[in-house]
């Protein structure tokens, strides 16, 4: 009996709960079901036998928590727990007298993945790989990945199974009644990711009873092209006399499950609280139902952990994370200034971008590593899907591997080499890919020539199992100043490719105006023209009001914006900041006093505007040393005196940061202004600690005062800190720790620094730190608050 075969032929009946059945049989609260099961094999075997007696096609093994992370500290190895559990299930199947399959159950690691948690994607992958390999070895027929609430974690599990075994995979997640995951994602975002990874079936289990799952089943049937499996709980738990009781009995369960089959489910079973009687009644009721075939959905969709973006309405792709022509961004990439780069992403999100392009192609950096790092961080804080923009195939793969969702890939083109490199990645990881209408012969002059290339690309993609819905055609924007027909050709090509091939289209709009003055005027007009011939997505700068106005106007005019309501709300209250008019109209006070005032009151925009105005009359370094630092000192002293509090201190610090950003381009050297390379400090939150708000506050203040801060981030190994001290010749390190459990890491780090004989002082801080602890672990200085670190650093480098 083969899983994929029966999946295509019949309705599949899966077994019911194991965990709650084991608890009934004596498993103590907080005990490990996987271990208890192999220590009481007769009990486990009898549960399997009962489900098989009901008529189940598939029984699931008692290996829900059988992974290296959950079993750590346990007497049994993962391999042992898995193989013994699988063989108990196997022997039940052998003995039941008919065909049935063993599904090896893989549940979550129990930890949250980085960047918000402390489990790395790779460690999660390794744990799942170990369980998957042991399951196949022990004779499982299929793998059920279930009860997952984190899309990144389920991706690690699916890849681990597919790359290390040849077993089919069913992937199920746990949603709440609103279709949301505990990690903030939802059904509409999860499905594209799972389908991209080409699981054999997908669905949901646990968390809800069958009645609560019905509306979610409706949504699933509308968006999934993949067969759907549902394993609800026996209703919702009630606590009666200290016992957990589920409120849906076998008959009620069976009736609702039959309704769920009518809605299109292909595999049904039960989770917590279900018993062999629930499954028996369910099978009796559903046995003669004809399963509905799953229709292929043709929507073009990309997703993040939380947002699904469909290309039915116009999609704005924010282009600003791209170093071309941006010296400040190039510096940030070289200096690993994550804050600057992430801030650009967030700013585009605030301007209304739907997708964020990430391009870090700079020859002197490690592009694959940087791509992975930025995407990892960005997807932890922004809900927008990401466009992976690179011609470096290694960078593309690394990004696609850890991307938490179904990505947009920029790009593939008609050259054989490009298609052969990109399509295997899209097949493996899933994604929508932008196809450029060029090939070995260059860019065709005619619309039909470009359409031919798109056709070639679509046909080749089909040979990889990549459907047309996952291809977006970019008909290429050429510069109108060097070819009069350039714009017209592109527009005609868009019209033609849409009518002949029915694909979605995208464009990088701004190329059209290269070499012309007032580019934004041409760009926004071209954008509108392209939208009117059917452009679906555009790669633009969302902070350009010309472009976003064109977008809003087009939507209002084309009927996409009902009642023009979006247009109306985005246009009201969008008067430009009146800050500049204030400073222009009043003759006094002088500009430097205005800057000082803006800093003291924490007024970011005013600080930026004043700094810019001052540049007309004052050298950058004089502004910094003569106005900014003294203003900071006023605030810092106020903080130390207790008249100014932390929020104000930070607002002032942010105002200073903005003033610096304005001054930066005017400093001749490539280095950031005020960053004295002789005053370099490493900051890090020690190993095991993932909270860094305090350290980040210190960083902002130190940078304000002109220190060059190397921020190593959080959860940093002692060795990494020591190596950085050595390689960068650092003389002062700041370490932060939040909790008593991580003070030992701090002690270890200091010990390693001393043992390496490095001439480096250590200042420490953090919620748990005290003068006592600091002395105990051999720190040179304990900073009780943010300004203390600045004072110490100043005196350290002075004397």
């Amino acid at each position: 009996m083969d899983f994929r075969k029966i999946l295509s032929e019949k309705l599949i009946f899966v077994d019911g709960a194991l965990g709650t059945m084991l608890q009934e049989a004596g498993l103590p609260a907080g005990g490990m079901p996987e271990v208890w099961g192999i220590e009481h094999p007769d009990i486990l075997r009898s549960i399997h036998d009962s489900y098989l007696a009901c008529g189940c096609d598939i029984i699931t093994t008692n290996t829900f928590g059988a992974n290296a992370i959950k079993l750590s500290g346990c007497n049994y190895s993962v391999a042992e727990v898995v193989s013994r559990s699988v063989s108990i299930a196997r022997s039940a199947v052998e003995a039941c007298g008919r065909d049935a399959l063993v599904a090896a159950d893989i549940g979550p690691t129990g930890k949250l993945l980085k960047p918000l948690g402390d489990l790395s994607f790779y460690d999660a992958y390794d744990a799942f790989r170990e369980a998957a390999v042991a399951s196949e070895k022990a004779g499982a027929d299929v793998i059920f990945i279930e009860t997952m609430s984190d899309t990144l974690e389920i991706k690690a599990a699916i890849l681990a199974v597919k790359e290390n075994t040849s077993l089919p995979v069913v992937a199920m997640m746990t949603f709440d009644a609103n279709g949301r995951l505990l990690t903030g994602g939802d059904l509409r975002a999860a499905v594209p990711l799972l389908e991209g990874l080409r699981v054999d079936a997908l669905g949901m289990n646990c968390g809800l009873g069958p009645y609560q799952m019905k509306p979610l089943m409706q949504t699933l049937s509308e968006i999934s092209s993949t067969p759907i499996f549902l394993n609800p709980n026996a209703g919702l738990p009630k606590y009666i006399d200290g016992q957990t009781v589920f409120d849906v009995g076998p008959d009620e369960f069976a009736v609702t499950m039959a309704e769920i089959v009518e809605m299109g489910a292909r595999g049904i079973g039960g989770c917590c609280g279900t018993t062999p009687m629930h499954i028996k009644r369910m099978i009796e009721k559903c046995r003669h139902l004809v399963p509905k075939s799953t229709t292929k959905k043709i929507d073009t969709v990309v997703s993040s952990y939380s947002n699904a973006v469909s290309f039915d309405d116009i999609v704005i792709i924010g282009e600003r994370i791209n170093p071309t022509g941006k010296p400040r961004l190039k510096t940030a990439l070289r200096e690993n200034d994550m804050d600057y780069i992430l801030e650009i992403g967030i700013s585009q999100q605030n301007c209304g971008a739907h997708i964020l392009d990430v391009n870090v192609g700079l020859p002197e950096i490690d592009e694959p590593a940087m791509m992975e790092k930025i995407i990892s961080e960005l997807q932890g804080i922004s809900p927008l899907p990401i466009q992976i923009d690179t011609s470096n195939i290694s960078a593309m793969e690394r990004a696609m591997r850890i991307y938490n969702g179904k990505p947009l890939i920029n790009s593939v083109n008609g050259k054989k080499e490009s298609m052969d490199a990109v399509f295997p990645l899209v097949r493996k990881y899933g994604g929508v890919v932008i196809a450029l209408a060029l090939d070995e012969n260059g860019i065709p002059d005619t619309p039909s020539g470009r359409v031919e290339i798109i056709k070639k690309i679509i046909d080749r993609a089909a040979s990889y199992g990549i459907e047309k819905k996952d291809i977006i055609a970019d008909m290429l924007t050429m510069t109108v100043s060097t070819g009069a027909d350039a714009a017209k050709t592109t527009l005609d090509a868009i019209r033609l490719v849409k009518s002949e091939l029915g694909v979605k289209t995208s464009l990088g709009v701004s190329n059209v105006s290269f070499g012309l003055p007032r580019r934004e005027i041409i760009n926004s007009a071209f954008f509108t023209m392209a939208l009117s011939v059917g452009l679906d997505a555009a790669i633009i700068n969302p902070s350009s009001s010309d472009m976003m106005n064109a977008y809003a106007a087009f939507r209002a005019l084309s009927g996409l914006d009902k009642n023009c309501s979006n247009y109306i709300s985005s246009m009201s209250g969008s008067a430009p900041a009146s800050v500049s008019s204030t400073s222009e109209s009043s003759p006094l006070p002088s500009e430097d006093l205005r800057l000082k005032d803006a800093i003291i009151h924490g007024l970011r925009e005013k600080a930026s505007v004043s700094a810019k105005a001052l540049l007309a009359s004052t050298a950058p370094m004089d502004i910094i040393n003569g106005v900014i630092i003294p203003a900071l000192d006023v605030v810092g002293r106020g903080f130390e005196d207790g008249t100014i509090f932390l929020p104000q201190l930070l607002m002032s610090a942010e105002a200073v940061k903005d003033a610096f950003e304005t001054i930066k381009p005017h400093i001749l050297s490539g280095r950031s202004p005020g960053k004295d390379s002789r005053r370099r400090i490493i900051l890090a939150t020690v190993k095991g600690d993932i909270h860094d708000i305090g350290k980040n506050i210190v960083k902002v203040l130190l940078e304000n005062y002109g220190f060059d801060v190397l921020d190593l981030g959080r959860d940093v190994d002692p060795e990494i800190i020591v190596n950085k001290i050595k390689s960068e010749n650092i003389r002062l390190v700041g370490l932060s720790a939040l909790m008593t459990t991580t003070v030992p890491s701090m002690a270890e780090t200091i010990k390693l620094i001393r043992e390496s004989g490095l001439d480096c002082a250590v200042m420490v801080g953090g919620a748990v730190m005290t003068q006592e602890y600091a002395d105990l672990i051999g720190a040179d200085f304990y900073g009780a608050d943010a300004m203390a670190a600045v004072r110490y650093a100043n005196s350290f480098f002075a004397g």
Binding site: A29, G207, S347, P647
Partner: protein
């Protein structure tokens, strides 16, 4: 929906006896709205019979070695294991602002800290309303990390409550709760109303804490 008490936010921001200026209060209110929007607050609880020996509390199959806990639940025959969280979206929004606007990140963080306490208080109130009919009262929450109740017991509490599966609450290797704005606690259930509403800071030994409420 839980409330975010202004005074608590002021306290977490370091304003002990004073109040912030109007423009900062405005930002605090904005941040409080953001936290309420992003929160997906959930809690779990389970009641157990307990046995108290010398400095040990036996609860379910769990042996909690802690003199301060034993003292805190003295006279109780039952105790509740409690866990609550605001959800991971709150961590995300704070992290997002750490990159873009540190002062707001700080204020969001303070609002979230006040929020989880307020939410937990609300959930405990619901629990106590159920128990008052049986003549039982809840003592203040006593969390791992208080007194000598080891942080490592968080693992057991989360495991017994199946917290990761049910409310997405887990621990890092260094015993930090994730999502960060979360609570785990042992709540004594007493037949006597005495000592059942105490200022939380009064329970704690750290008299030199910068955030201690109600004066030192």
């Amino acid at each position: 929906m839980f409330a975010i008490p202004e005074r608590e936010v002021f306290r977490y921001l370091g304003y002990r006896d004073t109040s912030p200026s109007e423009d900062i209060v405005k930002i605090i209110n904005e941040c409080a709205s953001v936290i309420k929007n992003e929160a997906n607050a959930k809690s779990l609880s389970r009641i157990f019979d307990i046995v108290i020996n010398e400095g040990t509390v036996l609860l379910g199959g769990l042996i909690l070695k802690s003199k301060s806990l034993a003292k805190h639940v003295k006279g109780c025959e039952k105790a509740i294991l409690f866990a609550s969280t605001l959800g991971i979206q709150v961590d995300r929004i704070i992290a997002r602002f750490e990159h873009a606007d540190m002062s707001r990140a700080l204020i969001l963080n303070a609002c979230a800290a006040a929020a989880i306490e307020s939410f937990s208080d609300d959930e405990c109130k619901i629990l106590s309303e159920k128990l008052v009919h049986e003549g039982l009262y809840l003592k203040p929450r006593f969390s791992p990390g208080y007194g000598d109740l080891s942080l490592s017991y968080q693992k057991d509490i989360l495991s017994i409550l199946e917290a990761q599966k049910k409310i997405g609450l887990s621990l890092t290797d260094s015993l930090m709760l994730i999502p960060a704005k979360s609570v785990t606690a042992v709540i004594g259930v007493s037949a006597s109303r005495n000592d059942c509403s105490i200022d939380k800071c009064a329970l704690c030994d750290k008299t030199d804490c910068a955030f201690r409420s109600g004066g030192v």
